[in-house]
């Protein structure tokens, strides 16, 4: 085409374009006076114009600038840097590019990663590169990418030659791995970071993309690109404005541009942990103050607490060292108490918490209440010093509270337990008095009320617990507008108190309410829901609604197994409960199986012995007892006595319970004298602890009565039995559980040849046992036998009398 021809064509085209789009081509077709080749070209260009609306409209410069210009002297494939030949670009970072390069010597071909700064001239970048080079050359750890070499390019850009890691980013590698394996992998990362910290190196850009997992499954930390060397002037002068970072994984102080320490890495590791466990990052409020887990998966409460501590907005509240974080992960993995929460008694007790089940045998019926240190509460034991409400308090005051609580409650670790309960109550009383100072801080107050109240409850002072827990719930309901998890916790606390006060109906009602609240908030599936199922089951058990209790324990077990894993103490506790209810329901095989499983778990977790081991052994012992495997039961229960005395002391209710159970074994073995001695010993201790009228005491009294009956000392036994029945009727008027003393008293009276007196007790026992245990239960049938015997004897008396 000539310029003249183009001139001609574009005139024609220009005229056509003046017209409406649908008239252009017809108009062109009518210009027959024109040269046909000009017309053809105009027609083709008209078609081109129709398609060219967006053509060239986006300037080329934009994309050039976006992707990073390649200029003469640039490091493109094939170019050389020192002895290395560039293969390709691996990635781009804040300061420069990472290139894959190869060193080819005579004998070997080595792939390396070369990090090249963009800015040749910047003194900052130079300094940073020199710094990085020095840092890295000092680090020698198998989970940190090695530095081989360094230098500067022809254009003066500094570069570092590093070990090339072929692998995938840790987060994609972790997809589909079991939680335990993810944690194991993360712990290697922690070891590497801890190592770096010991060498005064902070990473400051820890994120999944900087942690690759190689073919051997080893994680490797890359890119200490923005690390600073602690304690050197060069490092100290780095400020955040010039430090490139990855906002998603940066700590709040990093985002704010403040002075950075190892604590910043700990925060990033917390984010990484969150990402690896949930697949997401937590929601972070602007300013980074509050971190909320928003993962589709809910985490075990330990892990949530660990995350909470690692992700504290205030660096001073985080784990002080990477080792601290690692230690808690390890403790979590082995089921030991973590430190993420302050070492409050209620939490530790929660770890050891378990249910004590009255042994239910026809001859000897043991009732020992769950006095328990039942502060089970993974939920309740949320962090206190890490209290999120902290800004509401003057910091010093909050710290006072935390220190106070730690001091107050930290004493009650196993082994450090004071010899008597008096000092415990002392401490509690002092704590309650100190609460008066906290009037202005409802959240903190509510939390402390919850802790103190639960502790009172656990130590058998429900009357002291009641006002505290009631006030806590009131605060949660009114002042705080009922934040669901905390509201549910307060309701649960009160429910468990109701149970401790033998108000089982109210306990069940409260736990059901808590379940409602939790399920509306979390949906069906959450650890807190699981815990509540267990507590509800506890209350149902005490109401003698055995089958409902069993169903709820199974729900709780299901959730705990999923959230905590199979080998977790809370799972073991639940297994123990199921074993016990199964035993009560006459499902002897189930009972033994679940009890064995519980023991296995606790023995595995604490081979040296542990209160939780004692708890599961206790259930096993009772199951063996019920299966009349008395020799095995004796061995197991003696071990329980030994463990509990070791951990709790002789006078602790749990130790008493174990002694009592041993008494049951002796009794069934026919060693009645030994049994009586043990029951008397238990009873005396219980009277001292709870008073003569307490239902716990009543249960031991009952056992003593039974052993006296067995020795045919009926006159001694009868007042004891009547006392038991009285106490039971008074303290649990609506409970079907009263069938225990009813049946025992009926048996006594029958043995004493007073069937007309025995009959009404026996009949009521049958009625209640049938309701609680079902018609086919051995216990129901046994009571039925007593009724028949009574009737037979009565009929016989009548008949005989008639004959005479």
């Amino acid at each position: 085409m000539s310029p003249e021809r183009w001139q001609e064509v574009q005139v024609l085209l220009g005229q056509a374009l003046e017209l409406a789009p649908d008239q252009r081509l017809p108009w062109l077709e009518r210009q027959t006076a024109r040269d046909s080749s000009v017309l053809n070209q105009a027609r083709a260009l008209l078609a081109a114009d129709a398609q060219a609306e967006e053509f060239l409209e986006i300037p080329a410069l934009g994309s050039w600038l976006d992707e990073g210009p390649i200029l003469p002297g640039d490091l493109v494939p094939g170019a050389r840097i020192g002895p290395y030949r560039i293969e390709r670009l691996l990635g781009r970072g804040g300061m420069g590019r990472v290139l894959l390069a190869v060193r080819e010597d005579d004998d070997f071909r080595q792939l390396v990663a070369i990090k090249v700064a963009d800015r040749a001239g910047s003194p900052n970048a130079l300094r940073r590169f020199r710094l990085e080079r020095q840092i890295l050359s000092d680090l020698d750890h198998r989970n940190i990418a090695k530095l081989y070499d360094g230098g500067s390019t022809d254009l003066g850009q500094p570069y570092l030659v590093m070990e090339h890691i072929e692998g995938q980013p840790i987060h994609t590698y972790c997809d589909g791995l079991p939680v335990a394996q993810r944690l194991a992998l993360l712990r290697k990362v922690l070891a590497a970071v801890a190592y770096a910290h010991r060498h005064l190196v902070v990473h400051l850009d820890l994120k999944p993309a900087n942690i690759l997992v190689d073919g051997d499954g080893e994680p490797k930390l890359l890119d200490f690109g923005i690390a600073k060397l602690l304690g050197t002037s060069a490092g100290a002068t780095l400020t955040t404005e010039e430090r490139p970072l990855t906002p998603d994984f940066a700590s709040p102080e990093q985002l704010r541009g403040e002075r950075l320490t190892t604590s910043s890495d700990i925060y990033s590791l917390g984010l990484l942990l969150h990402r690896l466990l949930t697949g997401t990052l937590p929601n972070r409020a602007p300013g980074g103050r509050k971190v909320e887990s928003a993962g589709p998966k809910r985490l075990a409460s330990d892990l949530e607490a660990i995350l909470g501590k690692a992700l504290e907005p205030d660096p001073g509240e985080r784990y002080p060292t990477v080792e601290g974080l690692d230690g808690d992960l390890e403790r979590h993995l082995t089921g030991r108490p973590i430190f993420a929460r302050p070492p409050t008694w209620s939490y530790r007790a929660g770890r050891f918490a378990h249910r004590h089940w009255p042994t239910l045998t026809l001859v000897a019926m043991l009732f020992l209440a769950t006095l328990g240190a039942a502060a089970t509460v993974s939920l309740q034991a949320r962090r206190i010093s890490a209290e999120r409400d902290r800004t509401e308090l003057a910091r010093a005051e909050a710290e006072d509270v935390a220190a106070f609580l730690t001091d107050l409650l930290g004493r009650f670790e196993p082994g450090e337990l004071p010899g008597t309960a008096f000092s415990v109550q002392d401490v509690l009383d002092r704590g309650t008095a100190a609460l008066g100072k906290l009037d202005d801080h409802p959240k903190v107050r509510a939390r402390l009320l919850g802790i103190l109240g639960s502790t009172y409850r656990a130590w058998g002072r429900p009357e002291a617990a009641a006002p505290l827990l009631e006030e806590a719930l009131e605060i949660r309901r009114r002042e705080l507008g009922g934040v669901p998890p905390e509201l549910a916790k307060a309701i649960n606390d009160l429910g468990r108190l109701a149970r401790a006060r033998s108000d089982f109906g109210k306990a069940a009602e409260l736990h059901r309410e808590a379940l409602d609240v939790l399920r509306r908030h979390y949906g069906k599936d959450h650890l807190a829901v699981g815990d509540t199922f267990v507590w509800l089951a506890d209350a149902l058990y005490d109401m003698a609604e055995m089958r409902a209790a069993l169903a709820n324990y199974h729900r709780g077990l299901d959730i705990r197994r999923r959230y905590l894993g199979k080998d977790h103490q809370a799972t073991a506790v639940c297994l123990g409960n199921i074993a016990k209810v199964s035993a009560d329901l006459g499902l002897a095989d189930d009972a033994l199986r679940y009890a064995h499983e519980a023991v296995e778990i606790t023995e595995k977790l604490w081979p040296e012995g542990h209160p939780a081991t004692a708890a599961s052994l206790n259930v096993l012992g009772q199951s063996l007892l019920e299966n009349r495997r008395l020799k095995e039961a004796e061995t197991v229960i003696q071990r329980v006595v030994e463990l509990r005395r070791r951990f709790f002391g002789r006078q602790h209710p749990r130790s008493i319970e174990a002694v009592n159970n041993l008494g049951l074994v002796y009794q069934q073995q026919g060693h009645l004298v030994e049994a009586e001695k043990l029951f008397r010993e238990s009873r005396a201790l219980l009277v001292a602890n709870f008073g003569a009228d307490h239902q716990n005491t009543a249960k031991a009294t009952h056992n003593l009565g039974v052993v006296l009956v067995a020795q045919n000392r009926l006159r001694e036994a009868e007042p004891l039995m009547r006392e038991v029945l009285d106490i039971m009727r008074r303290s649990q008027p609506d409970s079907d559980n009263v069938f225990y003393p009813l049946g025992a008293l009926a048996q006594l009276l029958l043995t004493d040849d007073r069937p007309e007196e025995a009959l009404p007790y026996a009949e009521e026992a049958v009625r209640r046992a049938r309701r609680a245990l079902g018609t086919d239960h051995a216990m129901t049938r046994r009571f039925g036998e007593i009724v028949k015997s009574c009737r037979r004897q009565l009929a016989g008396t009548v008949t005989t009398g008639g004959n005479e």
Binding site: A44, D49, E54, W64, E67, P69, L71, V76
Partner: protein, 198 residues
């Protein structure tokens, strides 16, 4: 080398305007590093939202070259035209290098009519466009200048009108015609429809 040629820039510009083929190369080598520094400066500033105004690059380069080096250019629009040519060279070279990098890999060939961002989607066509512009230069130098300024340097129609002395309406019309021609040309090179109706 930069320093050595600093003083020559006015001379070079004169020579370039007179059509000295060597002047363009030497000017480019002079302006490259400057543009590069400015570009990266702008990138780091505007990185967050990825909206970089290419015009800002030229303004910045102009200010630096003119003020820092005390050159007295009468018409700064002239500088835009020169810069546009230089940027064209940089970008086309860049595209060539990119193509070289990707040799072995496959470039996804988006149909020309579907291409929105030519430089990003079809860097191979940047090289073709460069050649087509040489042809257009011979057919209609004004149109070629407009395309360079608008597509390569990212100048607006108004800025081009000022630089060329044309009315904005003319710039717009010429731009459309040039686009149609270039589209047709590239489409043809792509093996599109023949430009003749049989």
């Amino acid at each position: 080398m930069e320093t050595r040629e600093k003083g020559d820039i006015t001379t070079l510009l004169g020579a370039w305007q007179r059509g000295d083929p060597q002047a363009s190369d030497r000017l480019a080598r002079l302006i490259y590093p400057e543009l590069r520094k400015i570009a990266r400066g702008l990138m780091s500033v505007e990185r967050a939202d990825h909206t970089l105004q290419p015009t800002a690059l030229i303004h910045e380069a102009y200010l630096r070259l003119v003020q820092q080096k005390r050159m007295l250019w009468q018409d700064r629009h002239q500088f835009f035209a020169i810069s546009a040519r230089i940027i064209q060279r940089i970008l086309v070279d860049h595209a060539r290098r990119r193509l070289a990098c990707k040799r072995g890999g496959r470039i996804e060939r988006v149909a020309l009519a579907e291409v929105r961002d030519l430089a990003a989607q079809r860097p191979d066509l940047l090289v073709e466009l460069d050649e087509a512009l040489d042809t257009l230069e011979k057919l209609d130098p004004t149109q070629a200048t407009i395309v360079r300024a608008k597509f390569f340097a990212g100048l607006t129609g108004v800025e081009i009108a000022r630089a060329t002395g044309l009315s904005p309406a003319t710039v717009k019309r010429q731009w459309r015609l040039a686009k149609a021609w270039l589209f047709h040309e590239l489409n043809h090179r792509e093996g599109g429809l023949p430009d003749r109706v049989p």
